[in-house]
């Protein structure tokens, strides 16, 4: 009898443990999330031209009716330090989203770049618009949540994920380039600094004044750019500039001069060696349906002897 009671109690304890583990997992997966345009974008860089920018931030409450404590609100602030449970004295509070707004599930608010604490409380006298500076900010949020999800348990403060806002007016280092000659084209190979996101290539006919941007490439996509549409036997000056994620441009790279020239592919080489194939184009392929027609004819022949 006593053993039976003991067994029953053990079973009940095990069930409660599993239930609390399950609810804790559920509540941990739910909460309030911050993001920029999409959930994947958690960092924004801006430069001196963006001082009047208002950055839009999305919030999503996935703890609707479960987990969030009654009358909680979401406080959002920016800090130059790591996010804490509440805003510090040198942080700038941007928004308080009420519990009734949170119950809508999703919403947005804006952050004025010029109001970020790096400019407001900076002891270095940095103003938005100052060149050659990089200042990182964290956009933080906090709300109160029922930690276990079990009715009656205590409410605790929970932080949202943090977003990065980086003021960056440091220009990237100029890329180094080499240029290979091709047929009506130049192949520009480049080495860029790690903060470079896009390489811009400019050319001009030697003797003319203005460079024209002829091509650009995201550095994640490769390490060379083909500049096409050039004229063979004309000498071009070529240079490149790096652009970082904040839109800062480097100084010009070293200048190269190169002359696109006629090249021979295999066909050119074959013809130059005395080969006689005149490459009749698609007209020679028109006979192929003949082969297929023969195959079909034989198939039908067996079915209808």
């Amino acid at each position: 009898m006593a053993e039976g009671l003991l067994y029953g109690r053990r079973q009940m304890m095990r069930s409660l443990f599993l239930l609390s583990l399950l609810t804790a997992t559920v509540s941990a997966a739910q909460g309030v999330k911050l993001s920029y345009e999409t959930v994947d974008v958690t960092t924004k860089r801006f430069n001196a031209n963006d001082c009047n920018l208002n950055v839009t931030v999305n919030w999503t409450n996935t703890a609707l009716g479960l987990g969030l404590c009654a009358n909680t609100d979401l406080k959002v602030w920016a800090s130059e330090l790591e996010c804490q449970d509440s805003a510090g004295t040198t942080d700038v509070v941007f928004n308080t989203i009420s519990s009734s707004e949170l119950s809508a599930g999703v919403g947005t608010f804006t952050v004025a770049v010029a109001e970020l604490p790096g400019f407001k409380y900076s002891d270095a006298g940095v103003q938005c618009g100052t060149d050659g500076v990089e200042r990182s900010h964290r956009l933080c949020g906090a709300y109160r949540i029922n930690g276990t999800g079990i009715p009656g348990s205590a409410c605790t403060v929970s932080q949202t994920n943090s977003l990065s806002l980086i003021y960056d007016t440091k220009a990237p280092v100029a890329p180094t380039i080499t240029v290979d000659v091709q047929d009506s084209a130049l192949l520009v190979k480049f080495k860029a600094s790690p903060d470079t996101t896009v390489i811009h290539v400019y050319t001009r006919e030697q003797g003319t004044a203005a460079f024209i941007e002829k091509a650009q490439l995201a550095t994640a996509s490769g390490s060379s750019i083909k500049v096409s549409g050039l004229t063979n036997d004309t000498t071009y000056d070529v240079m490149a500039r790096s652009e970082d994620a904040a839109g800062n441009f480097s100084e010009n790279s070293e200048l190269f001069s190169a002359t696109p020239r006629l090249t021979l592919g295999f066909y050119g080489r074959y013809r130059s060696a005395g080969g006689t194939d005149t490459a009749t184009g698609c007209s020679a392929i028109n006979g192929l349906p003949f082969l297929l027609a023969c195959g079909l004819w034989l198939l039908r022949r067996k079915r209808n002897p």
Binding site: D180, R261, F266, G268, R271, G274, G275, D277, L291, G295
Partner: protein, 246 residues
């Protein structure tokens, strides 16, 4: 020697096993094969290797293309029940890339150039499967012969090459002859082979090797001086592959 002994033992054991299967009708064969391939483009040019004008060797070097080919045969007749006669359609693809040349200095540049070929063959196929069917000796020799149409195109950089106003794209015609030997591997697991037949309709499975000879030069077309006209895409090569009959 030990390997050949093992093969002989396997064949002998299979020959006397007396397994009879083939539950479903057999009308088709499907082959997938791979093999080294080098068209004989250079044979019309004087000189050999670095001393010659041979454009293929000097562009692509001595290494081979890898040719992949699939073939579907329709087995429409079993003459005297000693083999199957089929009509087959095979399509393959191979490409080879090398460096283009500066037209003035003839030195390689960073631009690439490539030859792409797409042989299409209409074949008559005879498989002598009498030994396999009658005596359970799992060796099936076969021969094939037929017509070849071989579209080709040449790229320079990332587009089809144009030289002297000609787009490097065309097709060549020719003939093909193939001899091969297939090993019917059903004997490795007769029960699985039987299940494969009854459930999927696959009668037999083979591994094979074949030697292929093609003359793809528009049937030997020549100019008034006896010089071949056009790109010679003839070849001699070996294929290895897997086949099923169903």
């Amino acid at each position: 020697m030990r390997f050949f002994g093992l093969i002989a033992a396997l064949l002998a054991s299979h020959a006397f096993a007396g397994e009879v299967y083939g539950a479903t009708e057999q009308s088709f064969a499907f082959e997938f094969k791979l093999g080294p391939h080098r068209p004989l483009i250079d044979r019309e040019f004087p000189g050999v290797g670095d001393a010659g004008l041979d454009p293929y060797y000097r562009t692509f070097g001595p290494s081979f293309m890898l040719m992949g080919e699939v073939e579907v045969d329709y087995q429409f007749w079993r003459p005297f029940n000693v083999g199957s006669l089929a009509i087959g359609l095979a399509v393959g693809y191979a490409e080879k890339f090398g460096a283009a040349l500066d037209a003035l200095t003839l030195k390689p540049v960073t631009e690439s150039t490539g030859l792409r070929i797409f042989p299409i063959k209409l074949l008559a196929v005879y498989r002598f499967d009498f030994l396999a069917q009658r005596f359970n000796i799992p060796l099936v020799p076969y021969i094939k012969g037929g017509l070849v149409a071989e579209p080709w195109w040449i790229v320079k950089g990332n587009q089809t090459e144009i030289f002297n106003g000609r787009l490097a794209l065309s097709s060549r015609w020719g003939v093909a002859a193939v001899v091969g030997l297939a090993i019917q591997i059903d004997f490795l697991d007769p029960r699985l082979a039987r299940d494969f037949d009854t459930s999927a309709g696959v009668n037999h499975t083979y591994l094979f090797a074949e030697w292929s000879m093609t003359e793809v030069n528009n049937f030997g077309q020549k100019d008034e001086n006896g010089k071949p006209i056009g790109l010679d895409l003839s070849s001699r090569n070996v294929f290895f592959g897997i086949a099923v009959e169903f």
